[in-house]
């Protein structure tokens, strides 16, 4: 059963997964050029600077790609009001669980592409003493970020159904209003506290807010 769910997931999303994988691979490979490096052989500093500039894009890629990977298969099911999965001899929760894991598995492809890109970028430079490359760690972090975004999007879509857009808007609007109100009231501490809760370790979205580092001490 799961193999067939995975097969359909792949059939529906393979173009997007391939595109994500390509961008993930190219990001570290060409990062050194972003920092103004025109030499044929990049230096470690150029790569570090390039990734400081391009790093947040990995977070955005994980966020946007995962959102589409979670929502698109749902819309295909929704085209027929989920009649086919509901007519299969499995519980709805089991179907949804299999659909979730199938989508989560496809996230491995861009994460793997990023790992290969990281290795390739590191192989082009000579690391100075005391500096080390972390190609696997960066790729793993990308996978974690993608999983967080995917899980949130998937849960929102499957639990809220047609009301997902309204719920998503509320999830954006309510914190924004809280921040704005806190700013206007001069109670900046409250807004900061919420921000820290969400985006600082061990907050649920802290994986997005830390620097995307490939080379470090």
């Amino acid at each position: 059963m799961f193999a067939m769910i995975l097969r359909t997931q792949w059939a529906w999303t393979r173009v997007l997964v391939a595109l994500l994988a390509l961008i993930a691979f190219l990001t570290p490979v060409f990062a050194w050029r972003i920092s103004g490096g025109n030499d044929r052989a990049p230096g470690a500093m150029q790569l570090i600077k390039g990734l400081v500039l391009l790093g947040p894009m990995l977070g955005f890629l994980a966020l946007f790609g995962s959102f589409v990977l979670a929502v698109y298969p749902w819309t295909i099911d929704a085209e027929t009001k989920h009649v086919y999965p509901l007519s299969l001899p499995i519980t709805w929760s089991r179907y949804v669980g299999m659909r979730y894991f199938a989508g989560a598995l496809t996230l491995l492809v861009p994460a793997l592409a990023l790992y290969v890109g990281n290795r390739f970028a590191v192989s082009m430079i000579t690391l100075p003493p005391l500096l080390q490359a972390y190609p696997g760690t960066l790729a793993f972090r990308f996978l974690l970020a993608a999983l967080v975004a995917y899980s949130a999007s998937f849960a929102l879509q499957y639990l809220a159904g047609r009301r997902a857009t309204i719920v998503a808007l509320l999830l954006v609007l309510v914190p924004t209003l809280i921040f704005a109100a806190a700013e206007l009231a001069g109670a900046r501490g409250f807004g900061d506290a919420v921000g820290r809760f969400l985006f600082e370790w061990p907050g649920p979205f802290s994986v997005f807010s830390q620097p995307w580092v490939l080379i470090d001490v």
Partner: protein, 301 residues
């Protein structure tokens, strides 16, 4: 004989405009049950409730011995379902759809699926989204028949199909029932089609069950009577009056249900005269049944 489907006092509401009210239904095991009703009468909603896709507000539904919707996944393993509109994934090919379906139904018969695919003239590499309505209908029927279901639930399976394809689909269905003694629940508004294959009939209108009876009784028990000096009373009639139309000063046309020849005497006792008895075909019977249920004419049952 046990019942394949047993529904009691089912109530379900969708907003203020539509509701199923106190619906009860019994489909005997092995029957070919025709579920008749005009468009919008609640047939598809009843089927979705029956299959556990919707939860009733009130009442009980048992399908193949399983309480629905709680044990829907157990019942669905033995049910072949062909919905009103194509429910399969449009991006899959015919072959992929067959393999996908097989993965969920342990009883799926590959050889039978392939035989039916050839018989229906479907190519393995055809994409479902590119199939015509007739081809999609044939594919859905192929999947339902190949899973060796004990109960087939077919929602308007031949609606919009040309006569040749309709005949192909129905003959495959009849063959299947002959071989496997399956129960068939077939919803349609095509009355003549139901007449040919069904042995039980249920008629639905406006979210209510208007009648449920063996096809033979439905076919022969509804008559149009021309009555002279019709009595005004409704008391103690041995039959149900579905409609009563005044033709002239002393003549009335009655459409009655449950007619038996010995009931002529009732008219004599009432001082009326029964001038003529006309047989109604199934479509007229169906229409009169609905008129009666809607209270279109002066008298109700």
């Amino acid at each position: 004989m046990t019942d394949a489907i047993r529904i009691r006092d089912l109530t379900w509401r969708a907003g203020k405009e539509f509701a199923l009210r106190d619906l009860s239904m019994t489909v005997p095991t092995g029957a070919i049950y025709g579920f008749l009703g005009p468009n919008g009468s609640g047939k598809t909603t009843t089927i979705r409730l029956m299959l556990g896709m919707l939860a009733p507000e009130h009442g009980t539904i048992d399908v193949l011995g399983h309480a629905m919707p709680k044990f829907a996944h157990r019942a669905l393993a033995k049910i072949g379902y062909v919905p009103e509109v194509v429910h399969l994934y449009s991006r899959l090919t015919v072959d992929e759809a067959m393999r996908f379906h097989k993965a969920f139904f342990a009883t799926f018969d590959d050889a039978e699926a392939d035989r039916l695919r050839r018989r229906f003239g479907l190519r393995e590499d055809q994409r479902i989204g590119a199939l015509s309505k007739g081809e999609s209908g044939k594919l859905m029927m192929l999947l339902a028949l190949s899973q060796r279901a004990e109960l087939l639930v077919l929602d308007e399976p031949t609606d919009g199909l040309d006569p040749v394809i309709r005949r192909e689909v129905l003959s495959a269905l009849v063959e299947y029932v002959d071989v496997h003694q399956a129960t068939v629940f077939i919803s349609s508004h095509l009355v003549h089609e139901q007449e040919r294959i069904c042995d039980w009939v249920g008629v639905m209108d406006g979210g209510r069950m208007v009648a449920e009876l063996p096809m033979q009784e439905f076919r022969s028990g509804i008559k149009r009577l021309r009555v002279l000096n019709a009595p005004p009373t409704r008391d103690a009639m041995p039959f149900s009056v579905l409609s009563r139309d005044e033709i002239s000063l002393h003549h009335e046309d009655w459409v009655v249900r449950g007619w038996q020849p010995e009931m002529r005497e009732w008219f004599q006792r009432s001082g009326a005269e029964l001038r003529e008895i006309q047989d109604l075909d199934l479509e007229d019977s169906f229409v009169e049944l609905l008129r009666g249920a809607r209270g279109v004419t002066t008298e109700a049952r």
